[in-house]
Every structure is written in structure tokens, then in C-alpha cells.
């Protein structure tokens, strides 16, 4: 296991403890840090979404609590914490309670692989991308369980829609990633970023990479259950979809996890196509932690694109969703992989 965590803390801890104890303490510290990142990220993104939505909709969005309304989501979270956890009488209570944790656990696990900068990455495994896709596909179980265990027909329909949607679109996300892996020749996230030092993959791979990026954006929107693919919640059809019966913190877990998932999808897009924490043309390579800045900028750019989609497009119907995946995205994706492979073989990459 490669831990790119700061060596200073490591040495400091070593002075006081044995090596094993240090290792365990570090793990706990990292876990706590990532829990914090999870919460802050979720809250910040909710704030960003509401603010951006406000500007799209000729409003201002939250602007009262704190500077620019930054503390609005914190106030909302505090309210949610103080709320009663309700549930339906005939719900499968154990599954019902366990379901939100599937979602946040997988979101947290995926978060560990995100390279915030060259130094900050908790878990740089050599099958990184493979691990990411497989872990993020577990999250659907949480939504599925919620829909099933709530004993509510709206939740059930929402859950069933999730199943269909996730299974279909996981394919496209996976294939788009595979297309880029063909170009990179590695699954390790840090190596993928290193390879983009001479040029981001979206430029290196030109046509197939652009197609892969578009497919990834479409499928990624579907993966994070956002408009135009928010059939799972579809408030004008299903009330609140799978989390209709959830209240208080249980609801907040879903809510935050949804936004963190969006962040993860955006980060993967940034890593695969826009060179992760690399600065454009290497202008700030010398400055430490500049990677964090560039990574944040790029991710926010991609997230803004997601938000732009959300506040512009209407929602698909379930059969149209499947048509889009199986009749359009999948065939194009397959051709695209072959195209990319040919390009790499013939050395046509830039």
C-alpha cells in the first residue's frame, strides 16, 4: 500500500510510538480526515449547486447565512441532525436502516483514490481505476435497498429505476474509462496523471478521447442521478423517489453522497482527460500544493458543466433512457475503443 501522506506526521508519530501503532494511528487519522473532507465537500457542493441554480434561474440563491450564504448548508445540516428519524410501520427495518451506509461507505471508499494533488492521495493502488468503478457500483445497492425496504410504492419504483439505470450506464462509464486506459496503458491513477505531463489525454487522444469524454459526461450524469437522468428521484413523478421515507440524517446521507458522487465522477473525468492536478503547460510545477489548486479548478469546471445540464434539460423517460444507452452510447463506445486501439497501435496520438 502506498501512502503519500505527509512524512512529517509520520516521523513525529514514530518518535512516540512503535511502528505498528503509528501505522494504525495514521489510518485512523486519514479516515477521520476523509470523513471531514466528505462532509465539507458535500456541504460545499450543495451550496454551490444552490447558488449556481439561483443564477441560472434569475435568482440569487442562498445569500443570508454567512458570507455569500456559505453557512446556509451547514445550518441545513444542523437542522437535519436534530430531526427525528421516521420510518414506515411495515418497513424492513434492518435493511431500511442499513441502506444509507452503503451509499456513504462506497462514496468514502472512492474518495480515497482521488488525487487531490501530487502529495494528497490516500490510496494509490495499481488497479486504481478498476477499483474505483467496482466500488462505485456497490453504491447502487444502497439505493436499491432503500427503495425496497421502505415499503412505499414510490420508493420501490424509484429503486427499480435505479437498478435499470445504474446497470446500463455503468457499462458506458466503464467503456469510456477503458478507452482512456487503452491510451494510458495503466490503471494506476498517479501514473495516468504523470503520463499527461506532455499533454492532457483529451489532446493526446484527440478524436476518440473527445468522444470518450462526451460519453463519460453523459453516462456520468446518469451515474450520479442528476437531470436529465434523475428518474430515480423525479420529484414531479415520484415525490422523492427512493428516499421518500427517509428523514433527518438518513436522508442527509443520501443527499450528501449524491453530491460527493458527482465530485468523484468529475474527478475521474479530470484525471482521465484533463491531467488531474497538473497545471497547464507546467507553469506552476515548482510551487508546492499548486496541484490542489489546479485540481479544484478543473473539478469545479466539470461540476459546473453537470450543473449546467441539470438546470437546462428536461428529464428522460425510462424507455428513452435505455434507448440512449443501448442504441446510441454503447455502439458508439465500442467503435470508439477500436478506434482508440488503432490509434495507439499506429502511433497516431499526439
Amino acid at each position: 500500500m502506498v501512502l503519500n501522506i505527509f512524512t512529517d506526521i509520520h516521523n513525529l508519530l514514530l518518535e512516540y510510538m512503535s511502528e505498528e501503532a503509528t501505522h494504525i494511528t495514521e489510518l485512523i487519522l486519514i479516515a477521520a480526515a476523509y470523513l471531514g473532507i466528505f462532509a465539507i465537500l458535500g456541504l460545499l457542493l450543495v451550496w454551490l449547486e444552490r447558488r449556481v441554480a439561483g443564477f441560472f434561474q434569475l435568482r440569487l440563491g442562498p445569500n443570508r447565512v454567512g458570507p455569500f450564504g456559505l453557512f446556509q448548508t451547514i445550518a441545513d445540516a444542523l437542522k437535519l441532525v436534530s430531526k427525528e428519524l421516521t420510518g414506515t410501520v411495515k418497513a424492513d427495518s434492518q435493511l431500511y436502516r442499513i441502506a444509507p451506509y452503503f451509499v456513504i461507505t462506497t462514496a468514502l471508499m472512492s474518495l480515497a483514490l482521488i488525487p487531490f494533488s501530487q502529495e494528497i492521495q490516500a490510496f494509490d493502488i495499481n488497479i486504481g481505476l478498476f477499483f474505483l468503478t467496482s466500488v462505485s457500483s456497490i453504491g447502487v445497492i444502497g439505493i436499491f435497498l432503500a427503495g425496497w425496504a421502505s415499503n412505499n410504492k414510490y420508493s420501490l419504483i424509484g429503486g427499480m429505476r435505479t437498478g435499470i439505470q445504474m446497470i446500463s450506464y455503468e457499462l458506458s462509464v466503464g467503456m469510456a474509462i477503458v478507452t482512456m486506459v487503452v491510451l494510458a496503458g495503466t490503471l494506476q491513477i498517479s501514473e495516468i496523471i504523470e503520463l499527461q505531463k506532455d499533454g492532457w489525454f483529451i489532446f493526446q487522444g484527440h478524436i476518440p478521447a473527445v468522444i470518450a469524454f462526451m460519453i463519460f459526461m453523459i453516462a456520468g450524469t446518469a451515474e450520479s442521478n442528476r437531470v436529465p437522468f434523475d428518474l430515480v428521484e423525479a420529484e414531479s413523478e415520484l415525490g422523492a423517489g427512493f428516499h421518500t421515507e427517509y428523514s433527518g440524517m438518513n436522508f442527509a446521507y443520501y443527499f450528501l453522497a449524491e453530491f460527493v458522487n458527482m465530485f468523484i465522477i468529475a474527478s475521474i473525468a479530470v484525471v482521465l482527460f484533463f491531467g488531474g492536478w497538473l497545471s497547464p503547460f507546467g507553469i506552476t510545477d515548482a510551487i508546492p500544493f499548486a496541484g490542489l489548486f489546479w485540481f479544484t479548478i478543473k473539478v469545479i469546471g466539470v461540476i459546473f458543466l453537470f450543473m449546467w445540464f441539470r438546470w437546462t434539460f428536461p428529464r428522460f423517460r425510462i424507455d428513452q433512457l435505455l434507448t440512449l444507452e443501448w442504441k446510441y452510447l454503447l455502439p458508439i463506445n465500442m467503435v470508439n475503443i477500436v478506434l482508440m486501439a488503432l490509434m495507439v497501435w499506429l502511433g497516431l496520438t499526439l
Partner: protein, 161 residues
């Protein structure tokens, strides 16, 4: 090939839509020019209703605390909801010595009023008029029942009882 032209045309329409919303986003991000909402409690001092705005029924009082209502109860019979109650009494007029009607209490149930304005039209003395106050929120319904004539007010001279 309609398959590919469908994709291209579809994407074009999506981008057109995104250009519309994007235009508003960036205009609002930098200039707030297209923001149509009002920041309500902040602008409460500058917020002015139109002069015909129907906020509530009021009884006109002049600077000498005199009103024009002689308790004829025409407004009560004009009201479709029974939101007005007028209590009058009679006392001898000091000048003529005849019994003259005067207003004791003009009660207005705001919670029942639909702002139809029939009472104001029915009033022969133009004693009632629209008030522009819109902030009627109360924690208790009984607080919406108001007495329109101010304490100590009396009938304006020149109005026949």
C-alpha cells in the same frame, strides 16, 4: 443516415438550450442584472405598494381624529362574508335636539375578508377606504379582528347622521 443526423441535430438543440441558460448565468454572476427576485425583508423600508393595492379595509380619519361613518350599516349588508360588524347608538344632537345615530364600534374581521371591495362601493359617505398595509401575519387568528374607528374619534361635522 438518420441515426447520425439525429445525434447531431439533437446535440445542437441541447447546446442552444444551454446557451440560453448560460447567458443568464453569466449575466447574473457578474452583474446581477437579470435577477428578478426581491430581497424581501431587506427592502421592507423601500417597498411601496401601488396606490390601488387592496391590503385591508380602513376607516378614514382626518387629522382631528374624525371619521365619516354614521353607522348606517350599508357596508355590513354589502359584505358577502360577514366580515364587517357595525355597532351604532343614538343620542340627541346638541344643536337640533333630534336623535342622531353615531358610531360606537366598527369591527373588521380581516380573516374573513376577501378584498372584494363591495363595502367601499356601498358606503354613501366614502368613509371606508383601502389601506396599503400587506403585512398581516399574526400568530393568533383573533388578532386579525380589528376595530377600525380609533379611540376617541368622532363623526366629522357636515355628515348627516
Amino acid at each position: 443516415m438518420s441515426y447520425f443526423s439525429d445525434i447531431i441535430n439533437g446535440t445542437k438543440t441541447l447546446i442552444t438550450g444551454m446557451r440560453i441558460t448560460g447567458k443568464y448565468f453569466f449575466v447574473n454572476l457578474f452583474t446581477r442584472k437579470d435577477v428578478i427576485t426581491q430581497q424581501y425583508p431587506d427592502n421592507i423600508d423601500t417597498l411601496k405598494m401601488f396606490d390601488r393595492f387592496r391590503g385591508e379595509i380602513t376607516l378614514y380619519h382626518n387629522e382631528n381624529n374624525e371619521h365619516k361613518c354614521d353607522a348606517c350599516t350599508l357596508c355590513v349588508s354589502a359584505c358577502p362574508n360577514g366580515s364587517l360588524e357595525v355597532f351604532g347608538d343614538k343620542k340627541p344632537d346638541p344643536e337640533t335636539g333630534k336623535n342622531k345615530r353615531y358610531l360606537v364600534k366598527h369591527i373588521y374581521h380581516l380573516e374573513m375578508c376577501t378584498m372584494c371591495g363591495l363595502c367601499i362601493e356601498a358606503c354613501p359617505q366614502d368613509a371606508l377606504e383601502w389601506g396599503q398595509d400587506y403585512h398581516h401575519v399574526q400568530y393568533d387568528r383573533s388578532k386579525l379582528t380589528k376595530v377600525l374607528n380609533k379611540p376617541g374619534s368622532k363623526l366629522m361635522s357636515g355628515i348627516k347622521g
